[in-house]
Symmetry: D2
Subunit: 345 residues, 4 copies
């Protein structure tokens, strides 16, 4: 299968190159970059010397449709929606790592992203690529909207208990902590080393564009509108997301019941690992891998369930899950090309 | 005024030496260390060469009561309660940076600290040293229980609105993030560089010994029991605490009303700085200083007020506030010896 | 091929498990740990949940010789020499990642390591496993002394020019910088996060036990004794070594001549990458991979050649090179199981 | 004394504000910024809320000469030389933290800085502000060229032994390691968090503009030209410089002789601390302070003396030394306003 990576020199694209280089069934056919067109990948990223990669191609429709079976978009929001409709029409499969096709309502998109949405038609064609939830529809999809990093970590941790109905769905608070690579490769004071190192910062409290994405999925599950509170924090590390999720219990359940319900829910899912011993996962324990690790605490005094969920934002939160989705789409073993243990320490 | 520092070679004691070295009215009379008795401070900490400090004395009552007007305890919980009663009896003032005298109920102490409490008598004598709240009683105190790091950051951020009554006091959730120095100087895998760097970890969810301390203060304010949910996280930096506090509003208030109420509340408090422009503080903005910076967001969709509060855990969260309390106690200007700008970057 | 990993829970052993898990021709037969015998690997290292690994076995001869075709020792110096002779006698191949079999002279070992050496007999049997230099003898070896991390980075950078004779061999100065994982998993103040973060430290200047290892190899090459100056520095990161090597040129050569000589020297070596464009590699560019990247500068004013060499200390500096050596030993493709791109960012 | 700070919002200017805020004899009269003219300092740097600072003024001659007794330039090279001559003519003292007035030869400046030099006239008027070396001439100076960060750390470590004549002056190699704040506040990929964290990089090997500065000082001392080899490395921390200096001994001296010679040389210098116990200083031991700590190793095998010198690049390497120079210039106690202990941990 021949793949084109658009936005190849951003961090998402870079990770796609790392994974696909070792994927047995996918060939990197073309790599497209707005900023570095015409250059050799190894002149931009010397660490990829040795990988056999094509020269970076310019960002235009001709290059995107030329010979690829599948196109990965690892581009900022607002870009992929300009190209994907035409590619789909030509029968080329698309995986969009940006937010352009994740929301089903153009109005909601425009409210949170503050620029024009893709058309309703194509939003309807898109399948939300949370692999563990949507396996069945991913199988036949032409266009996959790969989930955001925070929604991936949070939704995998919330879906089982929201489905079960043991919690008050309007009590959900998610406190997200992310490494700096989530902000991408664009330079700014906010990601300048001397301002970021030895520093924790909160940002976009209650305003993050990942909020409607999470609410849409949860609302669909319970068939009524759910609103949640989400805040994001930048911590001084490169990779990793940890979400601490607070939910009010409405049923009398024990920690053991919660844990075994999750264990059962994810029984056959190789990339979701449930902590059964009362410990919580840390981000380093999934570093460089496609795992999502989930642990639990129950504060019986306040009747709060606290769930801790970690992923590598560049892997399960972006490129890794994109490849996982292609594996599912094509009927290959879900873990193909993703059998990497976390790098530790 | 002659001061003795007990636990001088731990991080709290170290910071006391840094501050008191430049304090115009306090002299370091004696430094006491269990681990390094008999050594020169500069042989343990070469960065203090140049400071004129006494040789480290052994930990015993004779050394503690010898000549000091005031004794700072920067010791693990369970230590100071063995010495403070006798010192108080001899008219020596004590500032305890550990948790031994913070809780008014021995039973609650024993439940959360899991070892024997100080006697009720001496708990009654202790004044809780949250400087901005308890100024009046600190003035005449003999024994000050210096607050914990998380309670300092959280309580300063919560007290005004809890007093105002605009929130549901049983909806409080505090998500705390701390640098690694909060764990002290004792070596362990949990603070080993290779396991801590590039890693975020949750710990003691719903079980942190700072929980009853916060509940006690808030309950006193509203004269009814408040229970809150608190979780703590270790982030890969040395200094700094950021608490993100979630509260359900019960009144129709605007962000502007909240901000100006806080601004007014802390009008004359030099160490509490309120953000009035919709931004949130980051830990680096108080690094090495005694400030507590507080910012706000209002999620009108979910009616959640989100407060962000930051301190330097070693300063306002420990040694800095201890000195601030002595300043108040002695009737000196509150900022004496603490006029340090944050170190940035 | 059935492999036993001794010292499996240290960082070297951990990386061996990560690599061998995905190695097509090697099976992890047994994992041995002094500290965690009887435990499940995933209880010590939750990030390895999902890997199918045997229970940790105790450290004794019976466990080491039981069923393995090859035994990897990732143990502190002084351990492997107690077991390896017996294993070799039983025809079990051994790869020693410690320093016990690297030096050919017991007297030199004892001078630098300050405890008793292995016997001369077994030192003679050992092949020094610098893969790119010793391929021919590695092929038939029973016992491989895997090189130290600093020697790997330094020797690969020095051997070509020392062979060529363009430099004064007695002018060599190596300034090494290493991440903290090089110090292993044992806790100490020197690797405590709060003392290591935001800090650069020099250590063992002129006294590092890797010095005689480098001198032995270079002296053999030129058939006369070479002595060099080496200093090591701890930098606040987890993985990576960068060596800056200074050599006085004795011939009139240009930078281009140097670069093309190195390029030719390592023409067929997949893991050594030579910078030809005047840039220097950084440690992140080999993170998590088995590469050694080498760059050059020529200070024509002082006639100094400066070589910059980087490796991942846990991979090419330990576990990665060990597996590369097994691949060579067994006649497999050198890169088998090691085709990992560096993790970036 | 009224001071104007030009380039106030860069890291050097920021540190000047931090120090001068607490300086008993200097008043911050005006703060000048190219990028933020018209803004309040606390809107750019919220951590300075509470400090009583003037509004940021635009960069023009009128603002610079308006009312100041002394002007500090914390500007990129090429800026101060446009303003300083006129200020000097008006009798306003100037301290230049940039490189514009450090070199005595315009030709050498232009070769290394690659833009036009200040005029020879004003270069002649400038006094090189290495406080410990040039005290006598600093006293009466009108214009001080404050030394570079690497030269400060290196020269203080080299001058005593170069004066003594115990080493071969043409054997000097300096391996410098610096935190990222040395690169300033300008954003770039080279200082982007995700590319800098967990990474060590070499840069400008043999080409750093600090080389001629060090050579000029040393050559003057021995009255013959000295050339040295210098390389610089970026390490993942914010503040701190560590220089490892290698010199070939020409005399038979012991480590004790070297140490006691240094101890004597810096006997009355409060900011230079000599290690006498065979240990080496680390950067954290001077963090946030104006100290330069120096330690020694002697490799008797290779006859190399290795000197380790550390400073905080923003303090002794920039703003701290600038204030120290003003103290000397004005006849105040050298340590006035600089009595800060290092921040540890």
């Amino acid at each position: 299968m021949k793949a084109t990576i658009v936005g190849a020199t951003g961090y998402g694209g870079l990770e796609l190159m790392r994974i696909l280089n070792n994927h047995p069934y996918i060939n990197i056919h073309s790599v497209v970059s707005n900023s570095y067109a015409g250059k050799d990948v190894k002149d931009v990223y010397p660490h990829l010397s040795g990988a056999n990669l094509p020269v970076l191609a310019a960002m235009n429709m001709e290059n995107l449709e030329d010979g690829a079976d599948i196109v990965f978009f690892a581009t900022p929001s607002g870009v992929s929606k300009e190209y994907i409709p035409q590619l789909i029409e030509k029968g080329i499969k698309c995986i969009d790592l940006s937010g352009d096709f994740r929301l089903t309502s153009p109005a909601v998109y425009e409210q949170w992203y503050m620029h024009p949405s893709a058309s309703q038609d194509y939003l309807n064609k898109a399948v939300y690529g949370l692999s563990e939830m949507n396996e069945k529809v991913i199988e036949g999809a032409q266009l996959i909207a790969n989930p955001g990093c925070f929604p991936t970590a949070s939704l995998l941790a919330m879906i089982p208990i929201v489905k079960t109905g043991w919690i008050d769905e309007n009590s959900i608070i998610i406190d997200g902590k992310t490494g700096v690579s989530g902000a991408g490769r664009g330079v700014s004071l906010g990601t300048h080393f001397s301002e970021t190192n030895e520093n924790v910062k909160a940002y976009k409290l209650g305003k993050h564009q990942h909020i409607p994405e999470m609410e849409q999925v949860l609302s669909d599950i319970v068939s009524k509108p759910i609103q949640l509170t989400f805040s994001s924090h930048l911590v001084p590390m490169t990779r990793g997301i940890l979400c601490t999720i607070y939910m009010k219990l409405t049923e009398t359940v024990t920690l053991e019941m919660v844990v075994s319900m999750y264990k059962e829910f994810y029984r056959n899912r190789p990339f979701v690992r449930i902590r059964t011993d009362g410990t919580y996962p840390s981000t380093k324990e999934v570093y460089g891998s496609n795992y999502c690790d989930i642990g639990f605490a129950l504060d019986v005094r306040t009747n709060q369930l606290i769930i801790v969920s970690v992923i590598d934002n560049v892997m399960k939160g972006a490129a890794g899950q994109a490849v996982q989705n292609v594996n599912i789409m094509m009927g290959w073993t879900e873990t193909t090309g993703l059998e990497l243990s976390p790098l530790y320490p």
